[in-house]
């Protein structure tokens, strides 16, 4: 008897589209829960989010969260991805089987601008009319039935943040969605004739006759191709040679401007909105937002509140993270002790204890700070405050040619440049985004803190200036300020030279304030935390192992080791003879002008993996055992006893200041370089970053060292 093999039905792929701030993320999280996959679209630095949604009766669907966009005429890589997917132009992502369009009921007209552009493409669609509660509070009543009638597409009122109306939506998504029948859009004559001509080509080109979108939405597709920059070659590949040719012709004939579509579309929407929207006089939510903004964007109080919020975030990153960071460190120490006790003495044990566990620990220890940072970023973003932060900071950032949106990535970089660089994705202008990426690592990240603590604790005497100002705290604070000043100067130079061009438009929506959804905040923390662990963890882990080998091999001969008086001297000899020690001695002439000897050189090599590795590497080189932390007294003493061959002490206050300045400015983080490579899709920028930052650091450390010596330090 023949066995019948039933292939599991392929999951329907539904694209989730909508304006920024329409609650797209909230709906995505509500439909998919934690069953999400975050990646990147190949070739561009746009995040790809996919999730499995359980619908009804066991039916499932894959939801593809498109980047938020205001229109399908793209002006940034994100928006281009959204347009390309809906038109099936991306080779790596087939056009979706259906589209779920999120529309903010409290901001109907502008949201419908995008919604109608999508409906015209002819893909099976459904509209989720979100935030009906916010609309009601704003005195706006939307007649969903009327809207569905006028747009020719099912409309489901929902409150995504409370999960209301989602069951009906799930049931609809599980069935066969209708092809929409949106109202006709009257265009100016020139654009209209171009649209008709191209639409005819799309319809008649045999390649795609069976394609549902092509049979139902050729005019919509034609308009999107006309008002956009998609390459004719790609269009020819997807829609057929003839369509590509006609597109080229039409583009050559009359210069179509995307804006020619805006007036007529808003005119059409005016009629739709008049029919479906009832506006009463009461505006509660705008009332609340107005009252909050009376303080939060006030001339004086706005700045005070902003400073207070930034300070709170900053303070939290450092204080609340202390306890979990101590746990992670304790866990690391316990694992090391456990491994040391249970493994036989030998290279394998050393590799595991000093290389692997120490390396993994070095990464893990920053996780609490990253989570706390993204907890706050999640809350600030979801509540609507982030747009106000850009509103307040734009003028200041504008002085060095940056966008208000650059502020948050730079703030994030105080914790770690990796999430900071990842956060630049919200900046649509490439020039601005690149400038922000290039200066982000100049913010003093938490990995510099152990180095600052060691240097300041060992070489800056604790005194009180003016009776209350701690000298050590002042030096520490100065390091943060130095980083910011250098970053601003660098941004200014970049915007005048390599990223020269007109300042980008700001054009940000200031959404009404709302209570942040806990689920959104948690998902943000989860995503960023796991991305950090995977991306940074693999690099630092691998490098720690390599570095461990470089610091331990090749080993000196047993007779040389036996000749040493004690264990400490043996460790020091191993470090001197090792590959890293050899390189350290080789580079000594280039770092001697900064006041560093080869031992510090080895520390700098170690710091390439991660800056804080400097501290433990110095511990190894100065042979006080690898488990050195910055508070250990012996290391401080050993540093003071080190001398140049001519008898001068290596470590003076001037040396310490030179090292501090060097660590503020130099690029010493392979993980950041790896992330920058990913985000910019090129080795050019990480290499440029390494060269310009380290070059600047050398010059600044040179000046600091000799300046400090002139003051007799």
């Amino acid at each position: 008897m023949p066995t019948e093999v039933i292939a599991p039905p392929k999951l329907r792929r539904i694209a989730l589209a909508g304006n920024p701030n329409a609650g797209k993320t909230t709906l995505f999280n509500a439909l998919t829960g934690m069953r999400q996959k975050v990646g990147n679209y190949p070739g561009v630095t746009v995040e790809k989010k996919e999730g499995q949604a359980r619908l009804i009766d066991g039916a499932q669907a894959t939801i593809l969260d498109l980047p938020g966009t205001y229109s399908l005429t793209p002006k940034s890589p994100d928006e281009e991805v959204a347009r390309d997917i809906l038109l099936g132009l991306r080779a790596d992502t087939p056009a979706p089987d259906a589209v779920l369009i999120v529309v903010d009921a409290s901001n109907l007209e502008r949201n419908l601008y995008l919604a109608t552009q999508i409906l015209e493409l002819g893909l099976p669609s459904v509209i989720a009319l979100n935030m009906v509660d916010v609309a009601t509070a704003a005195g706006k009543t939307v007649d969903a039935g009327q809207l569905a009638h006028d747009l020719g597409c099912p409309v489901f009122p929902i409150i995504a943040v409370r999960g209301e109306g989602l069951d009906a939506l799930r049931a609809e998504l599980a069935g066969d969605l209708p092809i929409p029948n949106p109202p006709a859009l009257d265009l100016p004559p020139a654009l209209e004739s171009a649209r008709t001509q191209l639409a005819r080509a799309i319809e008649t080109d045999s390649d795609n006759a069976a394609d549902v979108a092509v049979t139902s939405g050729p005019r919509g597709i034609a308009l999107r191709l006309l008002c956009g920059n998609a390459s004719a070659a790609t269009v020819a590949r997807v829609y057929g040679e003839n369509v590509g040719r006609v597109l080229d012709e039409v583009r050559a004939q009359n210069k179509v401007r995307p804006a020619q579509e805006s007036g007529p579309r808003y005119k059409m929407l005016g009629a739709v909105v008049t029919n479906a929207l009832e506006q009463s006089g009461r505006e509660l939510s705008q009332d609340f937002t107005d009252r909050a903004d009376a303080i939060l964007t006030h001339r004086v109080w706005g700045i005070v509140a902003f400073a207070a919020i930034v300070l709170l975030v900053f303070q939290s990153i450092y204080t609340f993270a202390n306890l979990p960071m101590a746990w992670i460190e304790a866990l690391q120490t316990h694992s090391q002790t456990f491994l040391s006790a249970h493994l036989p003495d030998g290279p394998l044990r050393d590799l595991l204890v000093d290389g692997v566990v120490a390396g993994v620990g070095a990464v893990l220890v920053f996780l609490p700070q990253i989570l706390i940072l993204f907890f706050f970023i999640g809350i600030l973003e979801d509540s609507g405050y982030m747009a106000r932060a850009a509103f307040i900071m734009d003028k200041t950032m504008g002085r060095v040619g940056l966008h208000g949106r650059s502020f948050i990535p730079l703030l994030s970089s105080f914790a770690c440049a990796i999430p900071g660089v990842m956060a630049t994705r919200t900046i649509s202008s490439r020039r601005d985004r690149m400038t922000t990426i290039l200066i982000a690592p100049l913010m003093s990240c938490s990995a510099r803190l152990p180095v600052y603590t060691l240097m300041i604790g060992a070489f800056i005497p604790e005194r009180y200036l003016f009776g209350f100002l701690s000298q050590r705290a002042t030096v520490m604070f100065s390091m943060y300020v130095l980083g910011v000043v250098v970053a601003m100067a660098a941004a200014y130079v970049f915007k005048k030279t390599i990223f020269k061009g007109p300042p980008p438009a700001l054009l940000l929506e200031l959404p009404p304030y709302k209570v942040p959804a806990p689920r959104n905040v948690i998902v943000t923390m989860w995503e960023r935390g796991s991305q950090f662990l995977i991306r940074a963890g693999t690099t630092i882990f691998a490098l720690s192992v390599i570095l461990w080998f470089a610091l331990n091999y090749p080993k000196p001969s047993p007779s040389q080791l036996a000749a040493q008086p004690d264990d400490n001297a043996r460790v020091a000899l191993i470090a001197r003879n090792s590959a890293a020690g050899t390189v350290g001695r080789f580079i000594e002439p280039t770092i001697a002008p900064l006041g560093y000897n080869w031992k510090i050189g080895v520390g700098l090599i170690g710091a390439m993996a991660a800056r804080e590795v400097f501290v433990s590497t110095m511990g190894t080189v100065y042979s006080v055992g690898a488990n050195t932390d910055e508070e250990s007294k012996p290391l401080r003493q050993k540093l003071g006893e080190d001398h140049w061959p001519d008898g001068r002490p290596v470590w003076t206050t001037a040396t310490a200041i030179s090292i501090l300045v060097y660590f503020v400015i130099a690029m010493q983080c392979v993980s950041t370089l790896a992330v920058v490579k990913r985000e910019t899709n090129s080795w050019k920028w990480p290499i440029f970053m390494q060269v310009y930052m380290t070059g600047l650091a050398w010059i600044a450390a040179f000046i600091a060292f000799h300046g400090a010596k002139m003051f007799g330090l």
């Binding site: 805006s262 808003y266 438009a505």
Partner: protein, 74 residues
């Protein structure tokens, strides 16, 4: 007169968007097309950018961009 010349609280009607760059396109997509009524809400603490109400929502833009929006005071 342009949007940049208005004071907080003043209402106006959009007459035209000058320029033919992406910024002008985006202004129109955001709803600033001919005949749209708008109101200036306030200026940022440092005097720039500005906040306006248009089509039932609030938008912030720089004075430099606002100078490309020709308006008629209402």
């Amino acid at each position: 007169m342009t949007l940049a010349d208005l004071n907080p609280g003043e209402r106006a009607r959009v007459l035209e968007i000058k320029g033919d760059d992406e910024a002008a396109d985006r202004l129109m997509e955001m709803g600033l097309v001919e005949d749209t009524p708008i109101q200036v809400i306030k200026f940022a603490p440092m005097g720039d950018p500005m906040e306006i109400a248009v089509r039932g929502y609030h938008l912030t833009l720089r004075k430099m961009e606002a100078a490309n929006v020709g308006v008629e005071k209402l």
